[in-house]
């Protein structure tokens, strides 16, 4: 068994959310489903020619809008990367990979789609225009860079497009210079941002018009959020979720994965950061002082009622609204094998608002019940199912990210029983 290939039975993929940069649409991905809601037109979107179909045949692991909002990309366990034109929601290209895809990003100029496979290789394809001015994707990807045999958990372009940042499950963050011709590979490493002691789960940039280069933020299994200058790789500040959030009573979940940071989302052109934590039903709201290069906590925003532990966060630019989803691709143990997903929004996200950050009731979410029905697949999601989903997600993350500590005997046994060894004899 190669590194990164977990046990398929217990593999559960988290529900994901992505918000269009100008807030014209929102996408939820759960299992192989891609559900799009047109916020400007206030209506559910049917994808491409095949109604209700996403073109994916296995769990979607990564979704992303291009920074300019023209393209959208989805990819995952079916080893396919689909690139969509946001205007028409037509799939303008499918790229086939050899391995499952763990992360995606689109360059700020909209010309390159990058995706990482589970062996640590980041691939790139270019988006081009045909004679009829229709965008299409060159179908053959080229390798751009690699983390030696590690799962790449997150990819992010710097806001100015100069750097591509990649994070892995070995706690490494690599900052590569984006070359003029990305198809020839990103060989020049600007820096490594080193300091996390566990897997890095998420990356984002905090920037404003005054600080347009921005600073990099990362979240990790070591229960910290860290602030970096990606040009030098210097660690600027650490926010320790476990020690600083003391009114933080996890939902009675025992075990080592308590304060694992699972996702973060920086408000574009602003200083606020929302942080999702493994056992918190709610989010931690941070502020980044860009000139001072520090992180500070604003508050913990809790979600009353059910065990809504966000698996993914998203926001559009200039939006006071932050979107959250909680859910998983399937539940083992319960009768249903249907994907479970819940959608919520929080207002008062931006720093220039007087509004207290609050989670909105269903009827105040844009699109209201119509949106929920489409994105969740149903209006009613049972409490026990939500709790079970949170647990399934925690276990899956644990399995995927935490390195197996084999005892000496097991290690010897694994060596003796390895297939390649047998073949070599």
């Amino acid at each position: 068994m190669e590194e990164g290939e977990g046990n398929r039975e217990v593999e559960v993929a988290p529900a994901l959310v992505a918000v269009h940069p100008s807030h014209s649409s929102v996408v939820v991905a759960v299992a192989s489903d891609l559900r799009v809601y047109d916020l400007s037109g206030d209506r559910p979107v049917t994808l491409g020619d095949e109604p209700g179909r996403s073109n994916h045949s296995d769990s979607i692991r990564a979704i992303r809008y291009a920074p300019d909002g023209e393209l959208f990309v989805s990819a995952g366990d079916d080893k396919r990367v689909n690139v969509w034109s946001v205007d028409s929601w037509r799939c303008i290209g499918t790229v086939c990979c050899e391995k499952r895809v763990s992360s995606v990003a689109i360059s700020p100029n909209g010309l390159y789609v990058c995706f990482a496979d589970k062996f640590g290789v980041v691939w790139v394809v270019s988006v081009e225009k045909d004679d009829a001015d229709q965008q299409f994707v060159k179908d053959k990807p080229t390798p751009m860079l690699a983390h030696y045999c590690s799962i790449i958990t997150s990819l992010a372009f710097s806001p100015d497009g100069r750097f591509l940042v990649s994070a892995d499950r070995d706690s490494k963050i690599r900052v590569s210079v984006v070359p003029k011709e990305p198809l020839k590979g990103a060989h020049e490493i600007q820096s490594f941002c080193l300091g996390h002691s566990e897997f890095v789960s998420c990356l984002d940039f905090v920037y404003t018009s005054e600080y347009s280069k921005g600073l990099l933020v990362s979240g990790s299994g070591d229960s910290t959020v860290r602030l970096w200058d990606c040009e030098t790789g210097s660690l600027l500040d650490i926010f320790d979720v476990g020690s600083k959030v003391d009114d933080f009573a996890p939902n009675g979940v025992e075990g080592e994965m308590h304060y694992v940071v699972t996702d973060l989302c920086a408000s574009p052109n602003d200083t606020r950061i929302a942080v999702a934590v493994q056992s918190l039903n709610g989010i931690v709201l941070l502020n980044c002082d860009l000139p001072g290069k520090t992180l500070s906590i604003i508050m913990v925003v809790r979600i009353a009622g059910e065990a809504f532990i966000p698996t993914s966060l998203g926001t559009g630019s200039g939006q006071n609204l932050m979107w959250m989803v909680a859910g998983v691709s399937k539940l083992t143990g319960l009768d249903s094998t249907l994907p479970i997903v819940l959608v919520k929004t929080m207002t008062g996200f931006r720093s220039n608002t007087d509004q207290e950050p609050t989670v909105q009731p269903s009827n105040e979410i844009p699109g209201s019940l119509k949106l929920l029905e489409h994105l969740q697949g149903s209006l009613q999601v049972e409490g026990p199912a939500i709790s079970a989903a949170a647990n399934a997600w925690r276990l899956a993350m644990c399995n995927l990210m935490v390195k197996k500590q084999y005892s000496a005997e097991t290690r010897e046994f694994r060596k003796r029983t390895r297939n390649d060894k047998k073949a070599a004899q």
Binding site: L145, S176, P179, H187, E188, L194
Partner: protein
């Protein structure tokens, strides 16, 4: 010298550890997850543990000198021992993935330090997987020489990604080497020699060192004469294939 402090795993006459007590499996799989301590970042690498005479306490660690030469897959450490006296002012480290071999090199260095007071203070070894953790040990542009001598060949096509020289790993070596720094590779496996040369040739941040410079470089002879593998190949009258390249700035791409 005091023979009695040296155990039976060490030679009575030289105080050096005997290799046969430190034999290990010939090959390690660099892809498998191993569990040895790795510094979180270069700043956390404790120089006082490795070079105690030069760094008497860990508190003055923030100081001037840093490791400049790295021997990747150093094996039994022959090269380090020779380089130590050739460049007495330079700090060097061997990186080796096999536990027992690393232990052997440690013992070898400490025996040399004991028998030659004041010498061999500038060399040390760490057990690590160089394919994963080079950036944890060295900062950008810190190294001036990197050695990849007689690396494991990994013949099968599907195992090429286990090779210690590969297009992607060269990105990390280029990051670690100062502009002008030299990467030395040598092997007795022709196919691997061609592979290493072509990887280096195609990389935008390396250029071949000219024949004259190679001839004038005192280190070049050591690649075969000082390494255990090199000596073995020489004894058997085998051929070797060298590729020596310099780190250059990428043409503004």
């Amino acid at each position: 010298m005091q023979e009695k402090v040296v155990g039976s795993t060490h030679s009575k006459t030289t105080g050096l550890p005997r290799k046969r007590f430190y034999r290990a499996r010939a090959h390690s799989n660099p892809l498998s997850d191993s569990h040895f301590p790795v510094p979180l970042c270069p700043g956390q690498f404790d120089y006082s543990l490795h070079y105690p005479q030069l760094f008497p306490s860990s508190s003055n660690n923030g100081c001037v000198k840093k490791i400049q030469f790295a021997d990747i897959g150093c094996g039994f450490g022959g090269l380090l021992v020779s380089l130590s006296t050739l460049f007495p002012e330079t700090l060097m480290i061997g990186m080796e993935i096999r536990d027992k071999v690393t232990e052997y090199v440690k013992e070898r260095i400490s025996a040399l330090r004991t028998t030659n007071p004041g010498q061999y203070q500038n060399i040390s070894v760490v057990r690590t997987n160089s394919m994963k953790y080079i950036p944890n040990y060295f900062e950008k542009g810190q190294l001036t020489k990197m050695f990849f001598l007689f690396p494991d060949p990994h013949f099968k096509e599907k195992n090429h990604r286990r090779r210690v020289i590969s297009p992607h790993l060269l990105d990390e070596y280029a990051y670690t080497l100062a502009v002008g720094g030299i990467i030395y590779t040598i092997t007795d496996v022709e196919e691997l020699g061609e592979w290493m040369e072509s990887c280096l040739d195609e990389h935008p941040m390396f250029e071949a060192v000219s024949e004259e410079e190679v001839k004038a470089d005192p280190v070049v002879n050591l690649l075969t004469s000082a390494t255990e593998e090199g000596q073995k190949v020489a004894r058997n009258g085998g051929k070797t294939f060298r590729a020596i390249y310099r780190r250059i700035s990428p043409s503004s791409s």
